[in-house]
């Protein structure tokens, strides 16, 4: 009956695979792939939890009476211990609560964002805010707005401003906040999917970076803009010293960036050739894993169905 547990374990596998996939695949493709994989895997693991809980529930005398099946046959054929079944029911309930709470908060935040965007001037969709903050973000709305602090714009030359605006415009045009939100919701249903949801947040940034590189036609300049803004936004890091990286070759730098935070990863990705679309083998492997989770959940469901039918035949 290990099939029943497979959909619960596969998300951990996906969590481990998410970062290498996000590093290798073309960002738009990676975003779609990882987002749909989180949804599919969250669905499968929730179905598996529901099945485990159903096995536990089927032992209850009350349900046996209502469903008109033989409790003895049910218990004999039941592959799940009562403890496992109850744990699954508990996990299912907490997943449902987590998803509902997150969905409610997200809808509120999005409604707030739309309201605020509607109140901001729409001339070219760019709102410059005063004050000392170094800040730039895309505010989803109808239409969305790009909010940039004047202090940040002051520090950037024209090319870098163009790169920044193209990046944020790509977020709005591609509705990137939806991908991130869907992946987060899926991760709320199954926390093992959290690394995949984080990778989606990273791939939408990469997607917007690649768009900025295409618009400005200068990958290195976009990379330098990200670096400059990151240092401006974290003033404490500006004078970071420590081990000298001067002696390390660029290949080694790229290798360590693959396991670093999002900013060096994005910069490293822009300093090499643009990623190619395709990579059929990777895509096929992902599809196979998701399919495996789906098939095992379905297989377990039909097992339960067969058992209930058997018990019903014995009961009547």
């Amino acid at each position: 009956m290990w099939l029943l547990y497979l959909p619960l374990v596969i998300p951990a596998l996906a969590g481990a695979a998410a970062r290498p996939l996000a590093n290798r695949l073309e960002p738009r493709q990676a975003t779609w792939l990882l987002t749909s994989a989180t949804v599919a895997l969250a669905g499968c693991s929730t179905a598996a939890l529901a099945l485990l809980a159903a096995y536990a529930a089927a032992r209850a005398p009350f349900l046996a009476a209502v469903g008109d099946y033989s409790q003895a046959v049910m218990r004999r054929g039941d592959p799940i211990s009562a403890a496992a079944g109850s744990a699954a029911a508990l996990a299912l309930a907490s997943a449902a609560v987590a998803v509902v709470v997150m969905l409610r908060n997200w809808v509120r935040a999005l409604a707030e964002s739309y309201r605020r965007a509607a109140r901001l001037p729409a001339d070219d969709g760019i709102v410059v805010v005063p004050g000392p903050a170094i800040e730039a973000y895309a505010l989803p709305g109808w239409p969305g707005r790009i909010v940039v602090s004047g202090r940040l714009l002051d520090r950037l030359d024209d090319d870098r401003r163009a790169a920044l605006i193209a990046h944020e415009q790509a977020h709005l045009d591609g509705r990137h906040h939806l991908f991130a939100a869907v992946a987060r919701l899926a991760a709320a249903a199954n926390p093992l999917l959290l690394p995949v949801a984080r990778s989606v947040e990273y791939t939408v940034e990469r997607w917007a970076d690649e768009r900025a590189a295409a618009v400005t036609g200068n990958r290195r300049m976009v990379a330098e803009t990200i670096g400059q803004v990151a240092f401006l936004a974290s003033p404490r890091r500006r004078r970071t010293t420590g081990i000298s990286l001067g002696m390390i070759g660029s290949r080694a730098l790229l290798r360590s960036a693959a396991w670093a935070g999002p900013v060096p990863r994005r910069v490293a990705a822009l300093l090499v050739a643009p990623p190619r679309r395709g990579r059929t083998i990777l895509l096929a492997a992902c599809a196979a894993i998701v399919l495996l989770a789906g098939i095992s959940a379905l297989e377990a469901a039909s097992d339960l169905h067969a058992l209930v039918e058997l018990a019903q035949a014995a009961g009547s």
Partner: protein
């Protein structure tokens, strides 16, 4: 929005350069001058440098006010978030910040506080750890030279 230490520091600079008048008088005048200079900038059709502002002041005051006093006042207005500035040559030119942008500034602060908004907003850069900062410095200083991209519009 503005740190409280900034304003007094700027204020000390101004009156000292003024010719004549007690410091108290100069300070009192500064409050009135702020609104007058703000009115000049709001009435102007283009960004103004402190020199332009000084020329547009009432002839009587323009003669009294030194250039550095005007610079002091516009910097103070900038620190308060009432003026936006753009670099022009070695100095800055100033434009008034409209009401909507002021509201947007307050909104940015409000958004920065809520964690829910992280799910909605796409920030340009996230935080930088010490290790990330070193790595970033190394990457930007490296001789990695990406090939030229295809022209805009072909890729999505």
């Amino acid at each position: 929005m503005i740190s409280r230490q900034e304003v007094p520091r700027v204020r000390e600079l101004g009156p000292r350069h003024e010719s004549g008048g007690s410091p108290r008088e100069a300070r009192r005048a500064a409050g009135a001058l702020e609104s007058e200079i703000l009115a000049i900038l709001r009435g102007a059709s283009e960004p103004l440098s402190p020199g332009d502002v000084r020329l547009r002041l009432e002839p009587g005051q323009g003669a009294v006010l030194s250039y550095s006093t005007v610079v002091t006042i516009v910097s103070r207005l900038h620190a308060k978030g009432l003026l936006a500035r753009q670099r022009a040559g070695r100095g800055f030119t100033y434009t008034p910040v409209d009401e909507v942008s002021l509201a947007a500034g307050r909104m940015t602060q409000a958004l920065g506080n809520g964690t829910d908004h992280d799910a909605v907003l796409s920030r340009f850069v996230s935080g930088l750890s010490g290790r990330d900062a070193r790595l970033l410095r190394g990457l930007l200083a490296s001789d990695l030279d990406p090939p030229a991209d295809e022209p805009a519009g072909e890729r999505e």
